[in-house]
């Protein structure tokens, strides 16, 4: 996976040069500090993994145990038998992938227009995008639902997707990134007689790998973990996404099934984690070029 085409910014080359031998002990100390920091970050997850193999009774036990006394895969078994797991996984994937693609395509197109094209109303459009970034999302929830229901999209995949299909964040990120693409490159393509759409697809987009990775990860993460919107739009179980289904089975009126919740959360986390590991080099490089404007 490290053999993927090198991102524009080579992450290794700009790292500070190897230190003089006298700095050896400093290197050890640095590693000690980083490992301690890493432990602080990871220990809760280790606890979660261990907890997912405990029985409900053991999870309630005080003082809590670290290592499961009677390790049991029961929580995972329950997760995959009581929940129609393939269906919820399918729904989550369809929704998150569609939203990610939508934001990548539409965000890039609009971002390109804002960064590299000159047209009437451009400044107003950019301010609109920026302004919307600042509106607290909760307030849009009810009007958006009424809208979606009046369009007849309640309980459809499209209804789950449409409201976040073209979010302002994507436009903003892509604009910032595309500002760093040299104008000469685009100008040269124009001189060669390429149309604007061809320039966009064949010249600009291939340069956007890191930014697309960044936007892709952020959007996918948001869509994958979304809870409230899928909860209200999916009115039958056929359309539930993983977080909704997990809440359904793990959180009751009076009690919470912590074991199932932990096992489920770990399983839900896994795809996003894999995507991050695969794309993390591009992710960093992408942020480097969107943030530094």
């Amino acid at each position: 996976m490290t053999k993927l085409a090198a991102p524009r910014l080579n992450t290794e080359s700009s790292v500070q040069p190897p230190p003089a031998p006298s700095a050896r002990s400093r290197g050890i100390w640095l590693h000690v500090v980083l490992v301690v920091g890493l432990l602080v970050m990871v220990v809760p997850f280790v606890w979660m993994v261990l907890g997912s193999f405990k029985t409900t009774a053991e999870l309630r036990q005080l003082p809590p145990t670290w290592i499961p006394e009677n390790p049991t895969p029961e929580n995972y078994r329950e997760l995959f038998t009581r929940l129609d797991f393939p269906r919820y996984f399918f729904n989550s994937t369809v929704v998150a992938v569609a939203i990610t693609l939508g934001n990548i395509v539409i965000g890039s197109m609009t971002g390109y227009a804002l960064a590299k094209l000159d047209f009437w109303g451009k400044r107003a459009l950019f301010l609109l995008v920026l302004g919307t970034l600042l509106v607290p999302g909760v307030v849009l929830f009810l009007p958006q639902f009424v809208l979606v229901s009046n369009l007849g999209l309640v309980n459809t995949h499209l209804g789950l997707i449409i409201t976040t299909f073209a979010a302002p964040l994507g436009v903003f990120l892509m604009r910032q990134f595309m500002l760093s693409i040299p104008d000469d490159l685009i100008q040269a393509a124009r001189v060669d007689g390429a149309g604007e759409y061809r320039i966009f697809w064949n010249v600009v987009m291939p340069l956007c790998g890191p930014a697309l990775a960044t936007l892709g990860i952020l959007t996918f993460l948001g869509a994958w973990n979304a809870f409230l919107w899928p909860l209200v739009v999916a009115t039958t179980e056929e359309l539930y996404t993983l977080p909704v289904a997990l809440a359904l089975f793990a959180i009751g009126q009076q009690e919470t099934n912590f074991g199932l919740l932990m096992a489920g959360s770990l399983v839900v986390m896994l795809p996003v984690l894999i995507i991050f590991v695969l794309l993390q080099r591009y992710f960093t490089a992408g942020i480097a070029m969107t943030g530094i404007k």
Partner: protein, 316 residues
């Protein structure tokens, strides 16, 4: 817009005329191209975002409550009454003060922690960089519900990990989430933990964009590590700091997830945030009032973001 499009097609063929006469017509073609790129976004945005924003803004000037939900037109317009009531509402003021406290403490902490880790990981001697990066990023990926389960156990007064460690040193640890004065610091600690991975990635990116030769030049001048950080890294990191500050500010001013799952705003409203108050009012069905709080928050975010921009933007 359609009118503009018609004009634009007309001028399409004359686009590459170099003389002054063509400028007007080239503008028309560029308008067409520009808007054609922005159109898909604009349509979806107008319908699914701008519409609901206007509707909710309108809602904030009415007394809309849950009883009106099936017939939203039968509400009374109350003008700025909701907004006026807000500043008499002690719980809102408390929530605003809590939010300010949270942002002022958590924002620098998160940024500093993210930067420190990025600086550490950016040293050439560090091994297993990917492991560290993924490890520090892990909390960003997890759902907040899962995280809350674990953190509640870690902060548990009787049996939690933290008080267990304090116990080794003979300290009787307090109830981190149940003591009003400690609840917010505990929430802040958890938030910093949860978000520093994202900041780390941003700063790593910023650090990697700094040309190596600047450090080499500093070495030749005999600069020590602190001098290099102060006079090379920090100034060149300014745009990254701005980006990180803006992202953190916008996110933190709207913070609610951590108290929502950990403390429900308590004890004694010590962790009640503005966004959480919006959610509460929304849940009570006071839609008009909830909307007005959101727009006050929006205004605060806009003003503060503007100030940060002014303060941190690169000096040319």
């Amino acid at each position: 817009m359609t009118q503009r499009a018609a004009v634009a097609t007309e001028g399409a063929t004359a686009a590459r005329l170099p003389d002054g006469a063509g400028r007007q017509r080239r503008g028309a073609k560029q308008n067409l191209i520009g808007w054609s790129f922005a159109l898909p976004f604009l349509v979806l945005f107008a319908v699914f975002v701008a519409g609901p924003i206007l509707a909710s803004l309108g809602m904030s000037f009415t007394d809309m409550r849950i009883a009106d939900i099936r017939n939203p037109f039968a509400v009374d317009i109350v003008g700025f009454e909701n907004y006026a009531a807000l500043f008499q509402d002690e719980r809102f003021l408390r929530a605003a003060a809590n939010t300010a406290y949270f942002v002022v403490v958590a924002m620098p902490l998160t940024m500093a922690a993210g930067l420190a880790i990025a600086l550490g990981l950016n040293q050439a001697i560090v091994k297993f960089r990917t492991v560290f990066r993924v490890g520090f990023y892990l909390p960003v990926v997890a759902s907040v519900v899962a995280i809350s389960v674990v953190w509640r156990l870690i902060l548990n007064e009787e049996t939690g990990l933290i008080n267990g460690i304090l116990g080794v040193f003979g300290i009787d640890g307090p109830g981190w989430l149940t003591t009003p004065e400690l609840a917010m610091p505990s929430i802040i600690a958890m938030t910093v933990w949860r978000n520093l991975g994202y900041q780390m990635v941003i700063f790593l990116a910023g650090l990697q964009a700094i040309p190596l030769m600047l450090y080499e030049a500093a070495d030749i001048d005999g600069a020590n590590r602190w001098a290099k950080f102060r006079y090379v890294t920090l100034p060149l990191l300014r745009p990254t700091l701005l980006f990180s500050a803006v992202i953190t500010l916008i996110g933190y001013l709207q913070f609610f997830e951590e108290p929502f799952v950990m403390t429900e705003g308590g004890p004694l409203d010590a962790t009640l945030s503005v966004s959480m108050y919006v959610i509460n009012q929304f849940g009570f069905g006071n839609y008009g009032y909830a909307a007005s709080i959101s727009y006050v928050l929006f205004l605060a975010i806009a003003v503060l973001t503007f100030i940060v921009f002014r303060f941190l933007r690169p000096q040319d």
